[in-house]
Amino acid sequence: MTVAILASDLVKSYTPGLRALDGVSLQVTSGEVLVVMGPSGSGKSTLIRTFNGLETLDSGELDVLGVRLDAAHEERQVRAIRRRVGMVFQQFNLFPHLSILENITLAPIKVQKRSKPDAAARAIALLDQMGIGEQAHKFPAQLSGGQQQRVAIARALALDPEVMLFDEPTSALDPERVKEVLDAMRQLAKRGMTMVVVTHELGFAREVADRVMFMDQGQVVETSDPQTFFTSAREERSRRFLSQMM
C-alpha cells in the first residue's frame, strides 16, 4: 500500500487565537476512500483545501503523492500537486461563459497541451460515463445542479488525477438531485480512485467509505471504519453528532 496523502500536525488559523486546524495528522493510502465528517466550522473543508494548496498552512507538513508542502507554500510544489489532484466544489464552479465541452477540455488543451479532437473525445467519453453525454454543447446555466456537479466531476477527471478531493459535493443540491451525484462518485470509488470526501451524506459514508474521520473544532476526534463509526463510535462527541444527524 502506497501512501497518497500524509499530513502531520497541520495548524492553520484565519483569526489569531482561533485555530481552524489544530494539529491534524492523517494518512490516506492510495485506492482508499476517506470520508471526513463533522459539524460546520469543524475545519474539514479547510483541511482538504490544504491538500492542493488552496489554503496555506501556518505550520505542519504535507506529503501529497510524494510532493512536500509546508508553511512556505512553494508555488512550484503547489502546481505539481494540482496537476495530479482533482477537486470538486460545493458550488460546482463551472465556467459559465464556456460550453460544457469547453469547460472540460479547457485544462487538457491549455495545461496538458493535448490536441483539441483528442481532448474532446475524452470529454465526451467522460460525459457519457456520467450519463450526460447529450449535454455537451449546452451551457452550465442550462443544466440542473446535479448535472452541473457531474460535469464538474468530469472536468476534474479529464486531467487523469491520481487523487480526487470532494468538498461537500452534494450540499448545494436539491434533495432529489443528490443521488445522481453520489452514484457517479460511487462508480469512481469502485474503480479504485483515491478519494477524500467531505460530506454529510451518512448513507454514502456507510456504504462507500473505507474509513470515516470525524473532526470537531479543528481536531481529529476519531478515525474508524464505517461499521464501527456508525454503530459504536468511540468518542462521546462523535456519538452526539451522529444522534443529531439521524
Partner: protein, 324 residues
C-alpha cells in the same frame, strides 16, 4: 366638474402639441433653407479632403456602413459571421491608410482630414487605444503589488478629476513645448492619444466593476485545474468581466463619439468643426438652426448605430441566449 376640468386640460395640451408640431413641420418644409446642408454634403462627410481623392474616405465609410449592416442583419452563421470580428479590428488601420495615403496612395496631410470621417476615426482610434489601456489599469488597480495598485489608482483618480477639455488642451498645446524642436507629433495623433488617456481611466473603472463581479471561486476552480494566473485571467476572468462591463463600455463609446466634438475648439475640423466653419461663410450666415439640427441628426444616427451594435454584441456574448 372635475371631469370637465380634466377634459379641457387634455384638450389644451393636445392643441399645444399640435400647434408646436405644425409649426415645426412648417419650418422644416417651408421656412428652413436647407441649401447650407445640401450643397455642402461632401464637406460634412470628408472635410476639405482633396476633391479627386474623396473616394478614399467615402470608401472607408461605405465599408463601415456595410460592415454595420452585415453585423446587424447579415447571415446568422457561416464564413461571413466568422470573419466579422477580424474585419472590425481591421477598420482602424484601413481608415488610417485610406486617409493618410502611402503604400500606393497619394499622401494626404491630416490638415485636410475632416467631417464625419474624422469624427469616426477619432472615436475608433481612441477607443481602440483606450480599451487595452483601461483593462491594464483595472488589473493594476486590483494587483497584489502595492506600487502597481497605487499608481493605477492614482492615474485613474487624477484623470477623472481633470475635465476632458483640459486634457485635450494639454495634448494640443503643452506636449509640443516639451518635445525637442523639429520633432512634431501629428495633431490628430495628439488628439487621439489625449482622448485615449482620458477615456482609459473611465474604462478602467467599468472593467473593475466587471472584475469584482466574478466570484473568487472562479479563480480557484481555474487554479485547481492547473491553469497559470495569466491563463486564468485570459480564459476565465476577463471574458466574463468584459461581458459584464459591456453595457457601461457602450456608454463610454457613445460618450467618446460625442466628446470628439470638443476637438472643434482646438481647431480640428471634424463634424462640429466643419459646421462652424460653414456657418462663418457669408453665404450661409445665420443658418444656425438648420446646421445644428442636421448635426444632431447625424450624431443621433451614429450613436444609434453604435448602441445597436453594442446590443448585438451583448446578445452574441450571452452564451445561453446565442446558443438557442
Amino acid at each position: 366638474m372635475n371631469r370637465w376640468l380634466d377634459r379641457s386640460i387634455t384638450l389644451l395640451i393636445l392643441a399645444l402639441i399640435g400647434w408646436a408640431g405644425w409649426s415645426l413641420l412648417h419650418w422644416l418644409l417651408v421656412g428652413a433653407d436647407w441649401s447650407v446642408v445640401t450643397t455642402n454634403l461632401p464637406l460634412y462627410a470628408v472635410g476639405s479632403f482633396p476633391a479627386d481623392q474623396r473616394w478614399r474616405p467615402l470608401l472607408w465609410m461605405a465599408v463601415l456602413i456595410t460592415l454595420t449592416l452585415l453585423t446587424l442583419v447579415g447571415p446568422k452563421r457561416g464564413w461571413v459571421r466568422r470573419w466579422l470580428p477580424l474585419a472590425w479590428i481591421a477598420m482602424a488601420p484601413l481608415g488610417l491608410w485610406l486617409l493618410a495615403g502611402g503604400l500606393g496612395l497619394l499622401p494626404v496631410g491630416t490638415r485636410s482630414w475632416g467631417g464625419l470621417t474624422l469624427t469616426l476615426l477619432l472615436t475608433g482610434g481612441s477607443g481602440a487605444l483606450a480599451l487595452p489601456l483601461g483593462i491594464l489599469l483595472a488589473l493594476g488597480r486590483r494587483s497584489d503589488l502595492p506600487v502597481l495598485r497605487w499608481s493605477s489608482a492614482g492615474y485613474i483618480e487624477l484623470m477623472r478629476a481633470v475635465p476632458l477639455i483640459a486634457v485635450l488642451f494639454f495634448g494640443q498645446l503643452l506636449i509640443p513645448l516639451f518635445l525637442p524642436p523639429g520633432l512634431e507629433i501629428n495633431r490628430v495623433l495628439r488628439a487621439v492619444v489625449a482622448f485615449a488617456l482620458f477615456a482609459a481611466a473611465y474604462i478602467a473603472e467599468d472593467v473593475r466593476g466587471g472584475l469584482q463581479a466574478i466570484p473568487p471561486t472562479q479563480r480557484e476552480a481555474a487554479a485547481v485545474l492547473g491553469l497559470s494566473p495569466v491563463q486564468t485571467l485570459q480564459l476565465v476572468v476577463l471574458p466574463q468581466a468584459l461581458r459584464i462591463a459591456l453595457p457601461s463600455l457602450t456608454n463610454q463609446a457613445v460618450g467618446l463619439l460625442q466628446n470628439t466634438s470638443l476637438m472643434a475648439i482646438l481647431g480640428l475640423v471634424e463634424l462640429l468643426g466643419i459646421s462652424r466653419s460653414l456657418l462663418a461663410n457669408p453665404a450661409f450666415i445665420g443658418r444656425y438652426l438648420e446646421v445644428y439640427l442636421w448635426l444632431a441628426a447625424v450624431y443621433w444616427l451614429a450613436c444609434t448605430a453604435m448602441a445597436l451594435l453594442a446590443r448585438h454584441l451583448e446578445f452574441q456574448l450571452d452564451p445561453v441566449r446565442s446558443s438557442r
